[in-house]
């Protein structure tokens, strides 16, 4: 049992050790499901690398690397049902992909546009930029499900930095008080831009925050996808059964810089990064699958080629989508556009010539 009643302790829950050895009870997962996890982790890494490359070429805007956090982000989304909600930050793009947000929609958003086709039916809120603000939303979605009497769970995910924000703590308190069917997940990747985890909180773990709010918590090796999956599965099950919220801290690591606008070499010891590279979550599952003869070398190569092809297709599709119209930012201000804004829109259009080149997405700072 990964979820303790109140005190999450100091020892992270683990099923696979960094060498891919089974050190805990194997969850009931078919070989196909395990290969799906592996494929999605490879996809997440390749997608992150691709958008960063596009940003360097001026084809995408600022992007936060996903590398190193694939077990956490794929594993946390995998146990969710279609009717469950997911509210994330920009660091959980892989969770959105697993929940069904199309790659091309995400690529279009990283071109600097608002996707015209955000798939509301996936029950994923648009990834959040402002730190921690999505956690009250997740708890509110869960409170609504409880009020409505629906067997629906809401998952809110944020980073270690967000746990310092009022929103995070206030939401956790609400989750406890209202017995909300919510799972609040902290991806502790060690760094909030340049500020290390130990400067965020004097507490030995972030999972320990649950004690103060009366919310059961779990501390999990976030680079072990089986442990992540199994813990979140139990928490989702608990929530769906009416047993209330759970706080989960996933211990992982941000292998890249904070975003394409950041240079982690300014503040981070390369030796620390190397130590975590040795704990790469994709390699861990790969070793496990190889050892169990569930993944041949040829299959592995096929998966690598297949995810690249999938990303190629998504990028082609997103780049073929027309840019947003110059006056499109008036579209969704409110249900109807007040006369004053209609005038402003007409005013803008007087300054837009059809021949005017589209602004380039690459950031300038």
């Amino acid at each position: 049992m990964a979820i303790h009643q109140i005190d999450p302790g100091l020892v992270p829950f683990q099923i696979l050790d960094p060498e891919g050895n089974l050190v805990g009870e194997m969850p009931a997962l078919s070989p196909e499901r395990l290969l799906y996890f592996y494929r999605m982790m490879r996809l997440a890494r390749a997608f992150s690398d691709r958008i960063i490359a596009m940003q360097r070429q001026g084809r995408a805007t600022t992007f936060g690397s996903l590398a190193g956090q694939e077990a956490a982000t794929v594993g946390l989304a995998a146990p969710l049902q279609p009717q469950d909600w997911l509210a994330t930050s920009y660091r959980e793009i892989a969770s959105l992909i697993v929940k069904g947000v199309p790659l091309s929609t995400l690529v279009y958003s990283f071109r600097g546009f608002t996707p015209p086709n955000w798939p509301a039916e996936t029950r994923c809120l648009p990834y959040q930029i402002v730190i921690g603000t999505q956690i009250p939303h997740a708890v509110g979605l869960a409170m609504a499900a409880r009020i409505a009497g629906d067997p629906v769970v809401a998952v809110g995910v944020c980073g270690d930095g967000a746990t310092s924000e009022g929103d995070f703590n206030e939401a956790l308190n609400f989750a406890g008080v209202f017995h909300a069917p919510a799972v609040i997940i902290v991806q502790n990747n060690g760094w909030a831009i340049s500020v290390p985890r130990h400067r965020q909180s004097a507490a030995p773990t972030l999972a320990a925050r649950g004690i103060g709010f009366g919310v059961p918590a779990a501390l999990v090796d976030g680079n072990d996808i089986l442990a992540v999956y199994e813990t979140v599965r139990q928490a989702v099950e608990r929530a769906r059964a009416g047993d209330g919220p759970t706080l989960i801290e996933l211990l992982t690591y941000r292998l890249g810089s904070h975003t394409t606008a950041d240079d982690a070499n300014r503040y981070r010891d390369p030796a620390e990064v190397e130590a975590w590279r040795a704990r790469d979550p994709i390699a861990r599952l790969q070793k496990f699958l190889r050892r169990r003869d569930l993944l041949s070398e040829e299959q592995d190569e096929e998966i690598g080629a297949a995810v690249q092809a999938e990303i190629d297709a998504a990028v082609r599709e997103a780049e073929a989508m027309p840019p947003m119209a110059p006056d499109s930012f008036f579209d969704y201000v409110s249900a109807t556009l007040p006369p004053r804004l209609q005038e402003q829109r007409a005013e803008l259009l007087r300054f837009v010539s059809p021949a005017q080149p589209q602004p380039q997405p690459g950031e300038r700072r």
Binding site: T61, T62, Y90, R111, G112, F113, T114, I129, V130, I131, G132, G161, A162, S164, E165, G166, D167, A192, I193, S194, V195, R199, Q200, S201, A261, D262, R266, Y267, P323, M324, A325, P326, D327, S328, F329, F330, V333, R340, L341, Q344, R345, L348, R350, F351, V352, Q358, P359, P361, G362, E363, R364, R365
Partner: protein, 328 residues
């Protein structure tokens, strides 16, 4: 004074270093301002020079950054807090608006809050959501708080020094696009540029053009085009302190020209432009030959990077407004 060409980043860094040198009470706090030197490097090397006791990273909590700064200011320190992007000021509105700005008021003058809050703002640099917003208009209804927005390195350094010397809280907004856009000869030494004083950047006779921050170069370009295309002489005034406004400078210019255009990238409704227009109405309505025109961001949320250029005032938009107010 020894002059050196500085970007606005370098000028601000120099101002902060001088404050730390000359006054033991000055402390710097914020996110990523220490070893990383701030996400824009405004505090580069300052932690190394002055130590972690005086220049320190905080947990990621805007409300606590401002709330604890209030406590430090009351104690007698001179905190200079950084909020990483102005869009995140929304996360500390309670502490900034209801506490920092009102400490003198609610204690009957027993306590004061000499605090400077620095924050980068402004668009055109392809940042993610809420990293480009201009919030100054929000603070027009925050009694007790001054709002300063420099448009060039020289003013940035002198105004920041004046903000630190001010006995009350000052919100110091730094335009991201101007951070590295040009260098200007700037003194190495300490000096101040007074708060509450606008600056006539270019004298003119026919129309007063008010701007601040990144809109000053936009206004100057439009003024030059107006001179060439319309043959008019435009007086360009950099407001520099946007709250409280330099009413005398606004009124004396409009009394001379009889025409006015206000430019800002913040939304139009209830903004600096509205307040400048009201000041003109109150003090020199009968000097006006045409209604005051505003060239501003629109009353929408700040758009995504792919269309943000359409949102911002441009020289063409300002020129059209100048043309409009020059109609007979």
């Amino acid at each position: 004074m020894a002059l050196r060409p500085m970007t606005m980043i370098e000028a601000l860094n120099s101002a902060l270093a001088l404050e730390l040198e000359r006054d033991e009470r000055v402390v710097l706090l914020g996110q990523d301002i220490g070893l990383n030197g701030g996400v824009f490097r405004v505090t580069d090397q300052l932690q190394r020079r002055f130590g972690e006791r005086r220049v320190f990273d905080t947990p990621l909590a805007e409300s606590a950054i401002i709330g604890t700064s209030v406590g430090m200011a009351v104690y007698g320190l001179r905190p200079i807090a950084e909020i990483q992007f102005a869009g995140f000021l929304f996360l500390c509105m309670s502490q900034l608006v209801t506490q920092a700005a009102r400490m003198r008021f609610r204690s009957g003058g027993a306590f004061t809050c000499p605090l400077v809050v620095r924050s980068p703002y402004g668009g055109g640099v392809r940042t993610p959501e809420l990293h480009s917003d201009s919030l100054e208009g929000v603070f027009l209804q925050t009694p007790g708080l001054k709002v300063v927005i420099p448009s060039n390195p020289y003013d940035a350094k002198g105004l920041l020094a004046a903000a630190v010397a001010d006995p009350d809280p000052v919100l110091f907004l730094e335009n991201i696009k101007l951070y590295r856009s040009f260098r200007q000869e700037t003194p190495e030494e300490y000096y101040t540029v007074p708060l509450g004083k606008a600056k006539t950047v270019q004298a003119g006779e026919d129309v007063s053009l008010f701007a601040y921050g990144a809109m000053v170069p936009v206004a100057l370009e439009a003024a030059q085009q107006a001179q060439q295309e319309l043959g008019i002489s435009v007086e360009v005034i950099d407001l520099r302190t946007v709250w409280p406004l330099d009413e005398e400078a606004i009124v004396s210019s409009v009394e001379k020209t009889g025409r006015a255009v206000v430019v800002h990238e913040a939304p139009r409704a209830g903004g600096i432009g509205a307040e400048v227009t009201a000041i003109i109405n109150e003090h020199c309505l009968y000097s006006l030959l045409k209604p005051v025109a505003r060239v501003t961001g629109y009353d929408t949320p700040y758009p995504v990077p792919g269309v943000e250029d359409y949102y911002l005032p441009t020289p063409a938009k300002v020129l059209a407004a100048l043309r409009q107010v020059m109609e007979p």
